[in-house]
């Protein structure tokens, strides 16, 4: 059973904006230190959300990704000035390798944060986000999610039933043929009964008026404070970025500004918000009695 992180209990719009901002930040801040913080905090959050995760394995795969991208860059990118060695006619430059490493770090951070996003954005939240603006989309979303387990179960029932007609596939060819038949039977079944579902919807007034979207989310003081903090941190980061912070230039030579303490702090806090929220919750619980 995966644990529920504290941030999952906030209002869906907040969670969504947070993640969009994070992914945006990871995409634009091209700096090894910044990206390292992004990856590390992503890993921490990932660990919080997914119970059965082996940290070592994750870090190893991260290392693999970074290595892969570094090598790719070394092979194609010939833009640097410090040539390390030659591959045939093409120079492999130090700048390209460093660019590759930072890029790899970027890829890894993105993967991690998207994985966290998938875990946190459950169907209820997505449904709410859609439902308030594009209700038809939201309705189809939840209909499809409801149909998928139904169809899968019916596949099994049909397969079981068809064995009675002697359809026990033995060779690979027979297996394939049988699977296609099972698919065909189930497809007929779901399409024919789609009329029943439509009747049930019409009977309850679907299409008579503009739909409202029911949800059970609240936006209260806690969410308000979080929004303010989030907006504040985003602003700091945007200002720093506009001032030229958080980026390194690799080509033609490596060139970077010294890391600005405030900028880095703002960035770190932003990325560590889920953990901060979690720590606050844990503190409250511990000291409640």
């Amino acid at each position: 059973m995966d644990k529920k992180a504290a941030i999952e209990t906030y209002h869906p719009w907040i969670i969504f904006s947070y993640f969009v901002g994070i992914i945006g930040a990871v995409s634009v801040f091209f700096h090894p230190v910044y990206l390292f913080i992004a990856a590390a905090s992503g890993l921490w959050f990932y660990y919080q959300l997914y119970d059965h995760v082996q940290i070592a394995k994750q870090i190893l795969s991260g290392g693999g990704i970074i290595l892969f991208v570094t090598i790719l860059n070394g092979l194609w990118n010939h833009q640097g000035v410090t040539i390390l060695w030659y591959l045939g006619d093409n120079p492999v430059t130090k700048e390209a390798l460093i660019y590759g490493a930072v890029n790899g770090l970027f890829f890894y951070s993105v993967f991690l944060w998207f994985a966290c996003f998938s875990k946190v954005m459950t169907e209820d939240k997505i449904h709410y986000l859609f439902g308030s603006m594009i209700p038809t989309f939201a309705l189809i979303f939840s209909m499809v999610l409801g149909m998928i387990p139904k169809i899968k179960q019916h596949f099994e029932e049909v397969r079981y039933a068809r064995r009675q007609l002697g359809k026990t596939p033995k060779s690979m060819r027979q297996h394939i043929k049988e699977s296609m038949s099972v698919v065909s039977v189930t497809t007929t079944w779901i399409l024919e009964h789609s009329v029943d579902t439509a009747d049930s919807m019409k009977a309850r007034g679907y299409g008579t008026r503009r739909r409202t979207c029911f949800h059970m989310y609240r936006y209260d003081m806690r969410d308000c404070i979080f929004t303010l903090i989030m907006v504040g941190l985003f602003s700091i980061n945007i200002i720093c970025y506009a001032l030229g912070e958080g980026r390194i230039q690799c080509f033609p030579m490596i060139h970077y500004e010294d890391v600005n303490g405030i900028g880095l702090l703002g960035f770190s806090l932003l990325f560590l918000l889920p953990e901060i929220v979690q720590m606050k919750e844990d503190y409250v619980w511990k000291h409640m009695n």
Binding site: F106, F137, A161, S184, E192, D196, T197, A203, R209, C213
Partner: protein
């Protein structure tokens, strides 16, 4: 005030020669509990649907229906959706959403209620129904009975004045059915809702009914208070009399038609029994003793997993050849598991289960006969198994439905067709899983006739059932299962006579005076002294009408120009931005472009008011495409996903094609984990769907091979091309041709496999899927 007034209502479906309902004139009072009954085909469902405008079928109508004195043309949609609720027969297919709380809120959302009001009403209704424990559950996790209660609650939450129910308990087991009917009673008593219910479990509802209406071939046979109706049916010698509550029939048979109050339930029946003189003791029915044993189970134990619970515990029994053997018990006692062991699909870990014949000679009829149907006509279904079908057709009386589509016939007929398919394989043993589920008295009789004929041919029949009445009458031996163990095996006479609670109605009623009585006939014989010869029941005749042909009204698609206009605009934006921002911001621009495209299509979808049926078909196609993505996981990228999306676009137009594609991309990523590539995937699949829509109008692409080629090309270039764009854009500061080529080359094997898959699945799926969709189009008058 009358809730409804029907004046000479007659109706026939288009292209049908007989009236579905004929000359119905009656009123329904406010607050009344009316039960409509009759065999299938008697017009009950049709009549019920005339009481709600949105469900009224199209066809030839004569006469009219008034709702609270308003004519149908004056009914508003609000009246119809909020004041009249409708519950259907199938628990599963009525449910629209995937969560219980959302399902409850669905109707209220449709009528535009505010969030606070919805919250309050759903809380109220779930308390009233005692559903609070499963409020947050997924709808797939509920049992059949719970699903049906949920359906009832989602209708009641809208606070209707009238509740219409079309055989709501037909698919439920007896306990769930009882719970459901108790809930109806509660609603009627506490809220005064007018209830009109089509039902064939008359024993339970007759005591609640204010009036009963009996229909036959669309005509009124009898309408009045239950006791009067029963007497009237007997005096008319109508065949439906046999479906009436057993208690009343026993008394009527013994007493004749004196003017006394007929007992309806067991309590009243018992009181009547006290004054009876018992003249004869019922004789035990003769059983053949010297039959060879065909199955022997000794000390069978079964569990699904090593550290799971035992489902079957120390089961020992024998089945003799030519017997009709019944296995009874409630839900969850292990009946299905025992069937699995008998079928040899499950192996007991202890004990021996030995059949004295080969595995192929055992056939099983599943609970849902639709799982066996794969052809377009009943005749083809039978021909699929064997060429020699004339005997079976005669045996099962299938002549009239040979040319029908298997989904166009009633449940009882479907069961017979499925049985036909099984019998064509010449089984020596037939296993039946809940065969009487949803069957009315007529089909139960027919089934019993078939079983007896099979017995005469020496075929052994084993049936697993909840139905105490059916088993008591037609089986030769019964085993009563509880918690995985057999409590008792005996002839039905001895078994039911010996039970106190799990027994027939006749036994419950008479057991104090006549302990051995199990069937109604036993009680009648004991009280009356002689057996009355059963006369065949009469039917009404169907009324012919002149069949009028109804033309299907088609809507013309119009959005092609608009679609392509949008795409052109997008391309201009892209090219323009590349020129403006060259060297940087490719990622941002392309993301923006995708976002805007998706948004435009989404908005156009919202603006277009789909037919509800179309919407559900769209959802079904999307679900199939998503499942297609996770199928065949052994070979990566070998999926039917693109083929399904293409076919959806071909049949339903380019807007729908885009929608199905984009939704498939989104939902499958939702299920497998989102990634930064999601928007690209949505766009790629959407484009494929969109283009397929346009291809659908071009004659050239009706050729299968050309379509397959197009599919392969689109999969390779559009899907493969677009999805890898993200990787290319991000791999380098300036995407170069070299990096693009490398990425694409690395992806080539995957793209080739994927294209190949699309080609193959288009070959396999195109015609059958288009056929199915077209059938829906015609049968249900959908326009796409």
């Amino acid at each position: 005030m009358e809730a409804y007034e029907l004046n000479h209502l007659s109706f026939s479906y288009p292209n049908q020669k007989t009236y579905a309902v004929h000359d119905i004139s009656m009123g329904i009072s406010k607050g009344e509990f009316l039960v409509i009954c009759g065999s299938s085909g008697s017009g009950k469902s049709t009549l019920l649907r005339f009481l709600k405008e949105s469900l009224t079928p199209k066809g030839n109508v004569k006469g009219n229906v008034l709702f609270f004195q308003k004519k149908k043309s004056e009914w508003t949609q609000i009246d119809d959706s909020q004041r009249i609720g409708f519950v259907f027969q199938q628990p599963e297919h009525q449910i629209v959403t995937d969560k219980v709380w959302h399902e409850l809120a669905f109707g209220l959302e449709n009528t535009g209620k505010s969030k606070e009001e919805i919250r309050l009403r759903t809380a109220e209704i779930s308390e009233f129904f005692g559903m609070s424990e499963w409020f947050y559950k997924k709808t797939e996790e509920l049992s059949g009975g719970q699903k049906q209660l949920l359906n009832l609650a989602s209708v009641m939450v809208m606070d209707p004045e009238v509740l219409l129910l079309d055989e709501p308990t037909a698919q439920l087991d007896p306990i769930a059915a009882q719970n459901f009917i108790h809930m109806l009673e509660k609603i009627h008593r506490e809220m005064g809702t007018t209830i009109v219910i089509c039902e064939h479990r008359l024993q339970e509802v007759c005591t609640l009914a204010d009036r009963v209406l009996v229909l036959d071939y669309g005509q009124i046979v009898s309408l009045g208070q239950p006791r009067d109706v029963i007497k009237q049916l007997k005096s008319q010698n109508h065949f439906f009399y046999d479906a009436m509550p057993g208690v009343a029939r026993i008394v009527l048979e013994v007493e004749g038609e004196k003017g006394m109050k007929l007992p309806l339930d067991i309590k009243e029946g018992k009181m009547w029994m006290e004054h009876q003189k018992i003249t004869k003791i019922p004789k035990e029915r003769q059983q053949q003793e010297d039959l060879p044993v065909i199955f022997q189970g000794k000390n069978l134990w079964f569990r699904y997993e090593q550290d799971g619970e035992d489902i079957l515990k120390d089961i020992s029994f024998e089945i003799k050849q030519g017997e009709i053997f019944g296995i009874l018990g409630g839900n969850g006692v292990g009946k299905t598991t025992l069937l699995g062991v008998l079928r040899e699909s499950l192996k007991p870990y202890r004990g021996k289960a030995v059949w004295k014949l080969k595995q192929e000679e055992v056939g099983m009829l599943p609970q849902n006969p639709e799982t066996l149907f794969s052809k377009n006509t009943v005749k083809d279904e039978l021909l699929e198994i064997s060429k020699d079908i004339n005997e079976i057709i005669a045996f099962l009386e299938l002549e009239d439905i040979l040319d029908h589509h298997p989904y166009d016939i009633s449940g009882g007929e479907q069961q017979r067709v499925a049985l036909g398919k099984l019998l064509l394989r010449n089984p020596k043993v037939l296993l039946l899983d809940e065969p009487t589920k949803g069957l009315d008295i007529y089909y139960q009789r027919k089934l019993a006739q078939v079983l007896n004929r099979l017995k005469d041919q020496g075929i052994t029949v084993v049936l697993v059932s909840h139905d105490v009445e059916f088993c008591s009458r037609y089986t030769m031996k019964c085993a009563f299962l509880f918690q995985g163990s057999i409590m008792e095996i005996n002839t039905p006479d001895k078994l039911f006579a010996g039970n106190r609670f799990y027994t027939t109605i006749a036994n419950k009623m008479a057991r104090e005076r006549i302990p051995d009585a199990v069937l109604e006939e036993d009680v009648i014989l004991a009280c009356k002294g002689n057996e009355e010869k059963k006369k065949g029941g009469k039917h009404k005749n169907p009324v012919l009408c002149s069949a009028k042909n109804e033309r299907v009204h088609k809507m013309s698609p119009s959005s092609q120009i608009w679609m392509y206009g949008c795409i052109l605009l997008e391309l201009i934006l892209v090219v323009g931005s590349f020129y403006k921002f060259h060297n940087t911001h490719y990622y941002g621009t392309s993301l923006l472009m995708i976002g805007v495209t998706l948004l435009m299509f989404v908005v156009s979808m919202e603006k277009r008011r789909f037919q509800t049926r179309e919407l559900v078909v769209i959802a079904a196609m999307t679900a199939l495409a998503v499942i297609g993505r996770c199928a065949f996981f052994m070979v990566p990228q070998f999926k039917p996903m693109v083929a399904v999306i293409m076919i959806a676009g071909l049949v339903m137009g380019n807007q729908v094609g885009f929608f199905v594609g984009a939704m498939t991309g989104f939902i499958s990523n939702f299920m497998f984990g989102q990634g930064p590539w999601t928007p690209w995937q949505m766009l790629a699949l959407g484009m494929i769907g969109l283009i397929s829509g346009s291809l659908g109008n071009i004659k050239l692409f009706e050729n299968k091979w050309i379509l397959m080629a197009a599919g392969g090309i689109m999969t390779f270039f559009i899907y493969g091309g677009i999805v890898d764009v993200w990787t290319i854009l991000k791999l380098q500061p300036v995407p170069s041709w070299q990096s693009a080529i490398t990425v694409y080359s690395l992806a080539v094997p995957f793209n080739v496999v994927h294209s190949f898959a699309t080609i193959i699945f288009l070959f396999l799926l195109k015609n059958p899927l288009i056929e199915k969709l077209n059938r829906l189009k015609i049968k249900y008058q959908m326009e796409f």
